[in-house]
Each structure stands twice: as structure tokens, then as C-alpha cells.
Amino acid sequence: MSANDSVSAGERRVDALDVSPDEALSETLGHDLEPSPARGKQRRRDWVQLPLDALHYRVTQAGLAISLFIVAMAVVGPYIAPYSPYEFVTAPYAKPSATAWLGGDNLGRDVVSRVLCGGRTVLSLSFIATAIGMILGVVLGLVAGYARTVINEVIMRGLDVLLAFPQIVFVLLIISVLGPQVWLLVLGVGVTLAPPIARVVYGVTVEIKERDFVMAAESLGVSHLKIAFTEILPNIVSPLMVEFGLNLTFAIGTIASLSFLGFGMQPPAADWGLMINENRVGLVIQPYSVFVPVTLIAILAIGVNLVTDGVAHAMIGIDRDTGSA
């Protein structure tokens, strides 16, 4: 623990000279200390201000309206559905009628009810998968970016290997081992999302760790782990928000695709992706049982992507502000 010794020795000398550690450090560095940009008010600014700024853009407003519509539908849907999603109401592939407004599906279940009940799974699963990917990516990126050793190499090369599979192929490989199970699907998608996030976090971390406020914390003997999470992490909130949006879009796409391939939710579950899989054979006779879930997935993905684009625009705006100030 020679690093700690030298720090405490430094502190004693600082006490003797009656100057603050900050002043002592700025003297050693030969220039004034630059404070962490993400402190106090600024820290709150990134979390709250960035979304608020993003709301000024019309893309964000449109995207938010669209996504909230789908979320509301998924949440309220099961309570207002006219039938149970498992109930046989009509003949298979029945045309729209007074009893079933959008007709029946391949087994004669009500398309309206199945659509209203089928949004929760794709929404919640892709949200959880994105959260897993974000946590994994942030931790790996921070550790790799902040560690100057073998750990860095091991993590980054490991991520390269993961990046050598197209997402869906990797998840299919995992599923082929343990069979289609929901937790596996979510975990698999989460893991495939992590490498690009880790790369972004890694890049920013490498840049930030050379700045004065990190060096100041290091010279005070703050542990590396604590520095990574209390000094560096608050400064990468904005790019992380954009990453979250981007990855949510990817996760929605991948999870819906896997359900569509028949490896996601299993019958008789009501799920938009699965509905498309089950009913696509009857596309010519009864298009609604495919057309409606496809449209809803499309709207959801587009909405999230529009919001993300708005946040990205707002982030560039903030960067420009601080740059000129």
C-alpha cells in the first residue's frame, strides 16, 4: 500500500503548509484544478435537463406520444379486452364481424382481445433485456476503461468475441442448448446488447480518467472502484441515456423477432410476435391477425427510436452550450 502511504504523507505536508489538498494538487499539476463537470446541480441537470431539453424537439414529442400510446394500450388492454385471449369466439380465421371486430385468429380466438393482451410481454421483456445489457455494459466498460492492466485486455477481447456473432444467431445458439425459455431469451438478448455499450463507456472512461477531478480523487486515496462509480459514471449520463434508447429499440426488434421465429413466448400466450408466427399462414384470408400486431410492433419501435433521436439532438445541444461557456 505504498500509494496510500504517499497520500497520507502528502496530506500531512499539506496540513503543515495550511493549504487545501486541492490547492496543493493544482500547484503540483502546474495549473488550476478543473472541477468535475457533473457535480451538484450539474449532476441533476443531466438526469432531468436532458430529457426536458429533448422535449423541445418535435421528433421527441411525436416519438413520446407514439410510445406512450402503445404502453398505455399494453397496460390497460387486458382490462378492456372484450373476451379472454384464450377463449374460442369465432371460426378459425373468421372475417371481422359484430362479435369480433377484427375477426378471429388461427384457432378462432378474438384478434382484438389477443392484441390488447399481447403487448405486455414484448414491452416488459425488452425493457428488462435492455436494463441487463446496460448494467453489464456499463460495469464492463468502466472496469476495462479504468483498469490499466490485463483486465482491460481480457474484457475488451472477450467483448470482441461476443461481437463476432450476429445478435440473433447468438441467442439462437443459447436457446438451442436449454430450449426456449423466457429468462434465457431476456438474458441472451441482454448479453448481446452489452458489448457495444461497454465500448462506448470504455471510450468515455479512458478520456475522463485523465482529467483533473479524477486525479484529485486518486491523490486523496479514494478507491478505484469508488472513483469509477462516483466520479466517472455521473459524467457519462448523457451518452448512456442515448444508448438506453438505442438498445431498447434493438431489444424490441430482437425479442419480437425471436417470438416470431417461435423461440420466444410459447403458445397459448398472447404475444404480438407469436401472433404473427401463428397467423401468417392465413395472411391471405384474414390479414388483421397479422397486420395489427405487426403495425403495433412497428409503431413502438419507431416511437422509441424517435425519442432517442431527440435525446441525441439535445445532448449535442448541451455539449455545444458548455463548449461555448
Binding site: 421528433v59 470482441d160 468475441v161 463476432a164 456473432f165 450476429p166 445478435q167 440473433i168 444467431v169 439462437l172 445458439l173 443459447i174 436457446i175 438451442s176 442448448v177 436449454l178 429499440t249 424490441i252 426488434g253 430482437t254 419480437a256 423477432s257 416470431f260 421465429l261 417461435g262 423461440f263 404473427i276 401468417r280 395472411l283 391471405v284 390479414p287 397479422v290 397486420f291 405487426v294 410492433i297 412497428a298 419501435a301 419507431i302 422509441v304 427510436n305 424517435l306 433521436d309
Partner: protein, 321 residues
């Protein structure tokens, strides 16, 4: 040793190493089945004789490391084992025509998407923030968000069933016949892949065009009074070409994954369709072969992109960073 060959050799070595690690991973993943591999694959209804035969066939009594090397050695000799399903044909025979079909599909899709999206991307970069740029941006945002199968179903609804009937409906592909004899079935899947991959090219090229146009050397060319046409042709475009190579390679690499849902949707007899089929049947040798093949294509394309970038960019070529 000169810088350039050293850089390329290092990149090649890294690519080979990645492939080796991937092969171990693919092998380990499919061998990680809990319990007895053979009965897991065959399911609950398997007879003891069938389980024993499969164990024998897969050489499951040998140590894992021996199994890995015999599998990897077989792959290098062009022997990927036998399919576990049906009449147990060799995997290479099963996949041979499918690999060609998928390659044709990817190539046609790339030929559809790359020229158009390069044009759209560079134009919207050139006329940045104009009406054209805004509409291209909105379009690429929309298509980038859509899952590939959603685009495919939209095309089917639009062109093959509900509204127009200009292209044949989906399920008429003959898996036994060559794809050359049924080219009309190629257009819809290829168009789907092209539409799904185009936004990335458009956005990347727009970004690189803007970067080049704002660069010092383009400013300099303008300052010395060169006409705009010369500025674009002689100074901007050659530098904007570098990311294009990356883009084309990444685009093809992306398609190696994109074919999975597209081929399943259109019942197109390629490796993507075969992968879904194999996963559903737990046909381990086929899964291993396809996943490894896709990863190899992915790694190789990235490798080619990196090496071409090293060769083209003057700064890397001379070893200055």
C-alpha cells in the same frame, strides 16, 4: 519490419485467434447440455438403443478435449459430421446448396441497397439540414427502428397479397430445386434485407460526408478558389470513400444475421432457414456448423474491412497516428 505488413499481420492473427475462441465457445455451448447429451437431444421418448447409438455416433464417451479436436479437425477437412434428424445426411451436403442460396440473396440485397443508400447518404450530407436531408433522416430513422420481419410482412401485404399482386406469394419456393430456376422468388426477400440494411449505410455516409466537407483540406481547397465540382471530386469524395468500404463489409456482415428472420419468413432455402429448423429440432451438428459459418463470415468481412482501411488511409499506411 515495415509498419504496414506488421499491422496487417497483427490484424490477421487477431482474426484467426477470434475464430478459434469462437469455435471453442460454439463447441462448449452445445456440449453444455445438462445431463446426458444424447438423451437430451433425442427427448424423453427415446429408446435406450437409439441413445446408445447416438452416443456412439457423437463419440460422447471420449474426453471433451478430444471431442473438440476431432470436431475442429473434421471441419478443417470439410467434414462437419452428420445431421441428427431424419436420414442423417452429412451436414456439408445438407448445407451446400443453402450456403449458395444465402450468398446469392445477400449479394442481390447488397446490390440493391448499397448504390442507392450511398447516393442518398452523400446527397443528404452535401445538402445538410435541407428538406431533402430532413426527409431522408426521418426515413432512415423509421427503417432503422423496424425489425426485419416487420419490413418483410409489410412488403408481402403490399406487393404479394392484399394490395398489389405483382410478386409471387411466399411459400412457393422449391427447396430441392436450384435458386437460379426460381429467381422471381428472390426479389421480395432481397428487397426486405436491402430496406433493413440501407439506413445504416445512409447515416454513416452522411456523417462521413459532413466530416470531410468540414475538414481543413476541403476548406483550403475552397479558399484557394477551386470550383465546387473540383472540391467535391478531387478532395471530398476520395476521403469519403474510406468509410464506404467499412460500410459495405459491415453491411454484408449484418446481413449474415439478417437472413435468419427473412429466410424463415419467406421460406427461403438458405442457412438462416436451416438454422431455425435445426434449433427447433435440436440438430446439434447443423447448429454448430451454421453458427460457426456465420461467425466466420462476420469475422472475415470485418477483417477485410480493416485491412482495406489500413491499405487505403494514408495516415495508417505511413504509420503516423
Amino acid at each position: 519490419m515495415p509498419v504496414l505488413p506488421k499491422l496487417i499481420l497483427r490484424r490477421l492473427a487477431l482474426g484467426l485467434l477470434t475464430l478459434m475462441v469462437i469455435s471453442v465457445l460454439v463447441f462448449a455451448a452445445t456440449e453444455a447440455l445438462p445431463g446426458d447429451t444424447a438423451s437430451q437431444i433425442l427427448g424423453k421418448s427415446a429408446t435406450p438403443e437409439r441413445v446408445e447409438r447416438l452416443q456412439d455416433q457423437l463419440g460422447l464417451d471420449r474426453p471433451l478435449i478430444v471431442q473438440y479436436f476431432s470436431w475442429a479437425g473434421g471441419l478443417l477437412r470439410g467434414d462437419a459430421g452428420h445431421s441428427l434428424v431424419g436420414i442423417e445426411v452429412p451436414v456439408t451436403q445438407l448445407l451446400g446448396s443453402k450456403v449458395v442460396n444465402s450468398a446469392v440473396l445477400m449479394l442481390v440485397a447488397a446490390l440493391m441497397s448499397i448504390p442507392v443508400s450511398l447516393l442518398l447518404g452523400s446527397l443528404s450530407g452535401r445538402f445538410r439540414d435541407g428538406l431533402f436531408d430532413a426527409s431522408v433522416s426521418l426515413g432512415s430513422l423509421t427503417f432503422a427502428a423496424l425489425p426485419t420481419f416487420v419490413i418483410g410482412i409489410a412488403l408481402i401485404l403490399l406487393l404479394a397479397t392484399q394490395i398489389l399482386h405483382v410478386l409471387p406469394a411466399v411459400s412457393r419456393v422449391q427447396h430441392s430445386a436450384s435458386i437460379w430456376s426460381q429467381m422471381e422468388l428472390l426479389w421480395l426477400p432481397a428487397a426486405t434485407l436491402a430496406l433493413a440494411s440501407a439506413p445504416f449505410i445512409v447515416r454513416m455516409l452522411r456523417g462521413s460526408m459532413i466530416e470531410v466537407l468540414e475538414s481543413d483540406y476541403v476548406q483550403m481547397a475552397r479558399l484557394k478558389g477551386a470550383p465546387e465540382r473540383i472540391v467535391l471530386q478531387r478532395h471530398a469524395l476520395p476521403n469519403a470513400i474510406i468509410p464506404v468500404i467499412q460500410v459495405i463489409a459491415l453491411n454484408l456482415a449484418w446481413m449474415a444475421g439478417g437472413v435468419v428472420t427473412v429466410e424463415y419468413l419467406f421460406n427461403y432455402p438458405g442457412i438462416g432457414w436451416a438454422l431455425v429448423d435445426a434449433v427447433a429440432n435440436r440438430d446439434v451438428p447443423v447448429i454448430q456448423a451454421i453458427v460457426l459459418l456465420v461467425a466466420a463470415v462476420y469475422v472475415t468481412l470485418n477483417l477485410i474491412a480493416d485491412i482495406l482501411t489500413i491499405l487505403i488511409s494514408p495516415r495508417l499506411r505511413t504509420g503516423l497516428h
